[in-house]
C-alpha cells in the first residue's frame, strides 16, 4: 500500500472538518503513515472468501412499536446550545447547500 502524504491528510482533514494547522499536518502525516503501514496487513485477507462481520452478534429485526414516547422539552433540548434564538439552535451562517 502506498504511504499517506501531507496532501492526503489535508484532504481527509477537510472531509472530517478539522482545521489542522500546518505543522500538525506534517506530524500526523508521519504518524499515520506508520500506523497505516502497520495495519495494512489486514489486506492479506482481502481475497479470502469470508463474509465480513459488521455486528459482533447475529441479531436481526430489532424494532420498536410505532408508539409515541415523551420528547424532551424544548428547554431541555436547547439546554446545551452554544446559542439560541426563537426556541431554535442559533448557528453561524451556512455556506454550502446540503
Amino acid at each position: 500500500m502506498p504511504g499517506i502524504t501531507r496532501e492526503e491528510v489535508a484532504h481527509l482533514a477537510r472531509l472530517a472538518r478539522l482545521e489542522l494547522k500546518g505543522e500538525e499536518l506534517d506530524h500526523f502525516a508521519g504518524q499515520l503513515d506508520d500506523i497505516i503501514g502497520a495495519v495494512a496487513r489486514v489486506s492479506e485477507v482481502a481475497d479470502q472468501d469470508v463474509p465480513p462481520t459488521s455486528h459482533p452478534l447475529p441479531l436481526t429485526n430489532v424494532m420498536r412499536a410505532d408508539e409515541v414516547r415523551p420528547s424532551l422539552t424544548p428547554e431541555q433540548a436547547l439546554s446545551g446550545a452554544p446559542a439560541q434564538e426563537q426556541q431554535r439552535f442559533k448557528v453561524p451562517r451556512i455556506l454550502g447547500e446540503d
Binding site: 424544548p74 442559533k90 448557528v91 446540503d98
Partner: protein, 503 residues
C-alpha cells in the same frame, strides 16, 4: 454562470434522446420518527418533538420503527419489487448543520426493496412502464431558517436557526432505473410517474404524500444523448421539484437547456440544479466532483433487517387495489371516457369524488362539482382540490339540496362559494344568505301576476300561441325573485295563468 439561449423543445428532441432518472422521497405517515419515539405531528412548536436520539446527543442510540419497515415493504411490493431477505442500514457521512449526527442513517448497497416497475398511463391511454431500481429507508433532516438575508434564502444570511422537529422523520427514497425511450413524452412520463406514485402511496395508506407540504419531494435527473447512441450523456440533478406540474416543467426545461449547451459545443457539468417555480427554469447548484465522499458503512448501532417471507406474503395479501386498477373500475362505474378519467386524475379529484359519492351524491353530480366549480376555484387559488376548505360531505349535501329542488344550479354555486369563503356548511350558507328556491306558490303566483301585468304585450303574444315568448316573462319573474325561484315551475304558472298549453 453563462446564460444559454434555450433550444426549442421540438428542436432539442429532433437531435437528442432524453434519459431520465427520478428520485422521490416520501415522508411516511408513521406516528413516530424512524429511530426514536418522538411524534411526527407537523407544525408543532420548534424543537418540541426532539429527544436525545433525533438531536444526536452524545450517547443516544437509534431503534427502528417497525411501521417504517412495514411501510417500506408495502411500497416495495406495490412497485413490484423484490424484498430483501436480509439488509442493513448504512451511514451516509457528510456534515450539514440540519443533520444532527452529521451522518444520515440510510441504506446503501442493500436496499430493502429493489428491481421493480410501475406502469403509468399517459394522457392518450398508453401504458408506459417505469423500471424501479430500489426503494430504501432513511431519515429526514431538521429545518433551517436563514436569518438576515433576502426572504429566508441561504445566501446573504447572517445566521441560521435550526428546528429539529423534522429530523428523523422516516423517509422512503424511491429511485427509478434510467427511463429510456420516452422521447418527446419524457416530461409527460415524469409527471405521470410521480402522479401515479403519489396515488399508490396514498392508496397504501403509508403517507398522505402531500407534495405542497414536502411530504413527497422529487429530484429529476436528466441527460441527453444523440439519437442512436447507446451511452448516456452527463446528467444534471434538479433537486426538490415539488409539484406534478413542476416535474414536467423541470424535465422540459432541462431538455432544452442541455440541448442548447450541447449544440453550442459545450459539455454538461454534473451538478445539482435548483428549480424555480416562478418561471420554470433551473439554475446551477453544487458541482458533484470527487471531493464528495460519503464514506458509507454498515450502521453498527442497528442490526440487520431480515423480513421473513411469511411477513412479506402477509403484507402482499393485504395490499389494496392498486390505483390504476381502481381507476379503471371507477371509470366504468362512472361511465366516463379514458380522457375524462385522466383529467380527473390530474386534477386530484378521484378521492374527493369517491368520498362525495360515498356521502350520498350521485356520480355525475359529484364529478360535475369537483371538476367544474371546485377545480376552477382550486386553479385560481393555486391550491390542491384536497386542500380546498370544503369537504366531500358538504359537496354531497349541496347535490342533495339540488336534487330535492331546494337549490337550483345557480344557487348551488353560491352555496359552494359561501362554504369556500368560510361561512359554514351548505345549510348554514343557505340560511345566512337566504338562498332557498322560492317555492311558496302564493308568493310565486303574485310575482307571476305582476310580471304579466307589467308586460301586457308579451302576455298577449303568448295567449295568441307564441309560447316561446314565455321565456321573457320567466326572466322577469326570476329577476323579481333574485333568482330564487324554480324556473320550470315559473314557466308552468305563466302558461297556466294565460290559459295556454305547451305543444
Amino acid at each position: 454562470m453563462t446564460v444559454t439561449e434555450l433550444v426549442s423543445y421540438e428542436d432539442a428532441l429532433a437531435s437528442y434522446d432524453p434519459v431520465m432518472g427520478l428520485e422521490v422521497h416520501v415522508e411516511l405517515g408513521t406516528k413516530t420518527k424512524m429511530f426514536c419515539g418522538c411524534s411526527t405531528e407537523l407544525k408543532q412548536d420548534a424543537n418540541s418533538q426532539t429527544c436525545p436520539t433525533c438531536l444526536g446527543l452524545p450517547g443516544s442510540l437509534p431503534v427502528v420503527n417497525a411501521i417504517g419497515v412495514e411501510s417500506a415493504i408495502k411500497i416495495g411490493l406495490a412497485l413490484n419489487c423484490e424484498i430483501a431477505e436480509w439488509c442493513r442500514f448504512a451511514r451516509k457521512n457528510y456534515f450539514y448543520p440540519d443533520m444532527p449526527k452529521n451522518f444520515q442513517t440510510s441504506q446503501y448497497d442493500e436496499p430493502i426493496a429493489f428491481n421493480g416497475y410501475l406502469d403509468v398511463q399517459l394522457e392518450d391511454g398508453e401504458i408506459f412502464r417505469v423500471e424501479i431500481e430500489r426503494a430504501h429507508m432513511e431519515e429526514d433532516t431538521g429545518k433551517s431558517l436563514h436569518v438576515g438575508g433576502a426572504t429566508g434564502r441561504i445566501h446573504g444570511a447572517s445566521h441560521s436557526l435550526l428546528d429539529y422537529n423534522r429530523a428523523g422523520i422516516p423517509l422512503i427514497e424511491i429511485v427509478t432505473k434510467p427511463i429510456e425511450g420516452a422521447g418527446t413524452r419524457a416530461p409527460e412520463v415524469a409527471k405521470a410517474y410521480v402522479a401515479e406514485l403519489r396515488e399508490l402511496i396514498k392508496a397504501l395508506g403509508v403517507s398522505e404524500a402531500r407534495m405542497e407540504q414536502g411530504q413527497m419531494r422529487c429530484d429529476v435527473n436528466l441527460s441527453l444523448r444523440p439519437h442512436g447512441r447507446a451511452e448516456f450523456g452527463t446528467r444534471s440533478e434538479t433537486k426538490n421539484v415539488n409539484s406534478l406540474r413542476s416535474v414536467e416543467r423541470a424535465a422540459r426545461f432541462e431538455i432544452q437547456r442541455h440541448a442548447a449547451v450541447l449544440n453550442s459545443g459545450g459539455t454538461i457539468v454534473q451538478e445539482t440544479r435548483h428549480f424555480h417555480e416562478e418561471d420554470g427554469s433551473t439554475t446551477a447548484g453544487r458541482i458533484k466532483d470527487n471531493a464528495e465522499d460519503y464514506r458509507y458503512f454498515p450502521e453498527p448501532d442497528l442490526v440487520p433487517v431480515a423480513p421473513s417471507r411469511e411477513w412479506v406474503e402477509e403484507l402482499r395479501r393485504g395490499l389494496p387495489e392498486l390505483p390504476r386498477v381502481r381507476r379503471n373500475r371507477l371509470r366504468e362505474e362512472w361511465g366516463v371516457s379514458e380522457h375524462d378519467m385522466q383529467s380527473i386524475l390530474n386534477a386530484g379529484a378521484i378521492d374527493p369524488i369517491v368520498a362525495t359519492i360515498e356521502a350520498g351524491a350521485d356520480a355525475a353530480s359529484a364529478r360535475k362539482w369537483w371538476m367544474g366549480e371546485l377545480a376552477r376555484n382550486a386553479n385560481e387559488s393555486g391550491r390542491d382540490l384536497a386542500s380546498l376548505p370544503i369537504t366531500p360531505e358538504q359537496v354531497a349535501r349541496v347535490t342533495v339540496l339540488v336534487k330535492e329542488g331546494s337549490l337550483n344550479d345557480k344557487l348551488a354555486r353560491q352555496v359552494i362559494e359561501g362554504v369556500l369563503a368560510g361561512e359554514g356548511g351548505p345549510d348554514d350558507v343557505v340560511e345566512k344568505r337566504g338562498l332557498k328556491v322560492v317555492s311558496d306558490e302564493g308568493a310565486l303566483g303574485t310575482a307571476v301576476d305582476e310580471a304579466i301585468a307589467a308586460n301586457a304585450g308579451i302576455a298577449d303574444k303568448i295567449r295568441s300561441g307564441k309560447v316561446a315568448a314565455a321565456g321573457a316573462l320567466v326572466g322577469a319573474v326570476m329577476k323579481a325573485t333574485r333568482g330564487q325561484a324554480d324556473a320550470a315551475r315559473v314557466r308552468e304558472l305563466i302558461l297556466e295563468k294565460l290559459g295556454v298549453t305547451e305543444g
